[in-house]
């Protein structure tokens, strides 16, 4: 989670330095729940991250280069300049590239788990990340219900960071707690303090294990506060200072560091060493990506079909 924080801060800096085309979306404050998800998943599992899942992506096994190459629009990145920033993934490795339509990735995870069932692959789990805003969509409802009907090993991690862009919870849903929704779908519900890494590891670990053991979908609701704008273009002035004083307004990395120090698992100098090591890794990955060639329209295939002979080209163009 520290590497994610350092990497994202670097990208944010590049964004503010005019080196990034398109948006930059940070997971600041959300690293604990995200990394816990990535850690709980194993090879062969499915992960559909959302925009604040840099920590989970790294923990799931995504290369830091995929991150920098995509943000910097390199031709050699996984999306080859065709898509950018957080819209990256490698479906073959179980890492799905999110589309912008919230809730839309959950049923894709369902389908992959369904395929595992057809193919006799057992013991796999699929996790999908959502925010509080996505729980309002029809896609959320359809896909969670579908997973419940099919008893799929889906872990739906909803991080309630109090705001969907600028919209606060009270304009997003009217239930007392999002985890109550689990009852309506007939799935297990779990709540966790999203600022507490230890709690996240525990609860997500339990949820993933329960799903892996064949007990159907698990809905995890983590609470925290978004410690950045929706994107780096957003100053998040609308976030109430009231939240910042609450426990859920804590920075999960600071909480985790105190936890390490308090338990004697690390001392202050080693924390500094870790931070420096992360910075070195990030700088290397950024430097590599900056040197990579940008996509070239003349070399682009401009073909949206895998069967090239069925592609239409540009009719009427000489």
């Amino acid at each position: 989670m520290l590497l994610a924080r350092v990497a994202e801060e670097k990208i944010a800096s590049l964004f503010r330095g005019g080196r990034i085309t398109g948006g930059v979306f940070l997971g600041k404050g959300q690293e604990a729940i995200s990394v816990a998800t990535g850690i709980a998943l194993k090879e062969g599992d499915i992960f559909a991250p959302l925009i604040r899942d840099q920590a989970g992506r790294l923990a799931f096994g995504e290369s830091l280069l995929d991150f920098t190459l995509t943000y910097l629009g390199a031709r050699s990145g996984p999306m080859r300049g065709r898509d950018g920033n957080v819209h990256r993934g490698r479906p073959r490795d179980g890492l799905l590239p999110m589309i912008s339509h919230l809730g839309a990735m959950v049923s894709v995870v369902n389908g992959m788990l369904l395929a595992h069932r057809f193919q006799g692959k057992t013991g796999t789990v699929g996790a999908a990340s959502l925010g509080d805003g996505a729980t309002s969509t029809g896609a959320f409802h359809e896909s969670l219900n579908q997973a419940a009907v099919e008893k799929l090993p889906l872990v739906l991690v909803v991080t309630n960071n109090q705001y969907a862009y600028s919209t606060p919870n009270d304009r997003q849903f009217a239930c007392a707690d999002l985890v109550d929704k689990a009852i309506g779908y007939g799935v297990n519900g779990h709540s966790v303090d999203g600022t507490d890494l230890a709690a996240c590891l525990q609860v997500i670990g339990d949820a993933v294990r329960t799903a892996r053991e064949g007990n159907g979908p698990q809905l995890v609701v983590a609470s925290n506060l978004r410690l950045a704008g929706h994107g780096e273009h957003d100053d998040s002035h609308y976030i109430s200072s009231h939240f910042k004083k609450l426990p859920l307004g804590r920075d999960c990395i600071e909480v985790a560091q105190s936890h390490l120090l308090r338990n004697g698992w690390a001392d202050a100098p080693s924390l500094e060493v870790w931070a420096r090591e992360c910075a070195v890794q990030v700088d290397e990955a950024v430097a590599f990506a900056l040197r990579e060639p940008a996509p070239d329209p003349a070399l682009e295939e401009w073909c949206a079909l895998s069967h090239r002979h069925l592609a239409e080209g540009n009719p009427g163009k000489p």
Binding site: I46, P78, M79, R82, D83, H87, G89, R90, P91, R92, L96, P97, I99, S100, H101, A104, M105, V106, S107, V108, V109, N110, G111, M112, L113, L114, A115, H116, F118, Q119, G138, A139, E142, S143, N145, Q146, V149, A304, L305, S306, H307, H309, L310, A311, E312, P315, G316
Partner: protein, 320 residues
């Protein structure tokens, strides 16, 4: 005799038999056999591979995309083409963009029971081929014959790209053939359904049969109308259309769908662009009226093109 509907069922049966990656997913398609019986008895023959879905077109499509990414070949039955708009987002934003974004193919077949039948009304009659054809990354098929319903559905399932398979409900029982074909034209090739020298009608799906009837009527007045069945909307076989217009000098494009920006508009745009010098008369088109599809058979019969209105349009075209 085998009907258009039975051809669709047999194609699914054959695909299930020959390819263990194939499964069917849709509302009421299991033991019930589907709203139109397109999957009748398949659930019994292929246990666990013909699956009833909840009413969730978005999640139906999303799960098909996930399964396709994991190596399966899902065949999704939308109960009516009209309902596919609920799953529109997954089809056009996820399935259609998948190969472009990730280089991973997304072999899904989405069956859309399309088109009007008497009494079906605004929400059970729509023709959405142009809507989907607008999006890059999709293949759109519109079979007009029993033979094509069979062979094109098999090819759709075999293709590695997402296919929107627009089967026409009116043809389900009205169209019959002696037997199923062994071979077929490939996707992307139009078929000349009737040869002629005076004008070309370009059409597809159920309108093919209205156009053939119109041509028969005009033949009694000495006109020889050439009729092209597009078979696939995307890719569109522009070459066959232009070659026919080169022979006849006149074109009428006919579609049951709405007029604005649809398949007929696309066909005429291509002819006007690439074949202007082939034309003896302004290119013409005929579509349904620009209103929702009406319920009552009298209104419905006037809303869409028919043999009689096609024949009238052709008489106008031949005068120009």
């Amino acid at each position: 005799m085998i009907t258009y509907l039975e051809a669709i069922r047999e194609a699914q049966r054959k695909a299930l038999e020959n390819d263990p990656r194939v499964y069917l997913y849709g509302q009421d398609i299991g033991l019930f056999g589907g709203a139109f019986k397109a999957t009748k008895s398949l659930a019994q023959s292929f246990p666990g591979r013909v699956i009833d879905s909840p009413i969730c077109e978005d999640a139906m499509m999303g799960s098909a995309i996930g399964a396709a990414l994991q190596g399966m070949r899902p065949v999704i039955e939308m109960q009516f083409a009209d309902f596919s708009t609920v799953g529109f987002n997954q089809i056009v934003n996820q399935a259609a963009t998948m190969f472009w974004r990730t280089g991973e193919s997304c072999p899904i077949t989405v069956r859309l029971p399309s088109g009007g039948t008497p009494g079906s009304g605004p929400f059970h009659s729509q023709n959405l081929e142009a809507l989907y054809a607008h999006y890059p990354g999709l293949i759109i098929l519109t079979p007009a014959t029993v033979e094509d319903a069979y062979s094109m559905l098999l090819e759709a399932i075999a293709l590695d790209d997402p296919v929107i398979f627009c089967e026409h409900k009116y043809l389900y029982y009205h169209l019959k053939a002696e037997s199923l074909p062994e071979t077929a034209l490939p996707v992307g090739k139009a078929r000349i359904a009737r040869t002629g020298r005076d004008a070309t009608v370009v059409t597809y799906s159920a309108m093919l049969h209205e156009a053939l009837a119109a041509a028969e009527e005009l033949a009694t007045q000495g006109w020889e109308i050439e009729i092209i069945d597009l078979r696939s909307i995307k890719p569109l076989d522009t070459d066959t259309v232009l070659a026919s217009v080169a022979r006849t000098g006149r074109i009428l494009a006919v579609g049951e769908a709405w007029p604005w920006g649809g398949v007929t508009a696309e066909v005429l745009a291509r002819v006007a662009t690439d074949g202007f010098n082939l034309l003896d008369a302004p290119p013409m088109r005929l579509n349904s009226k620009d209103t929702p599809v009406p319920f009552h058979p009298n209104l419905w019969g006037t809303h869409r093109p028919t043999a009689s209105t096609i024949a009238n349009a052709l008489r106008d075209l031949l005068r120009l």
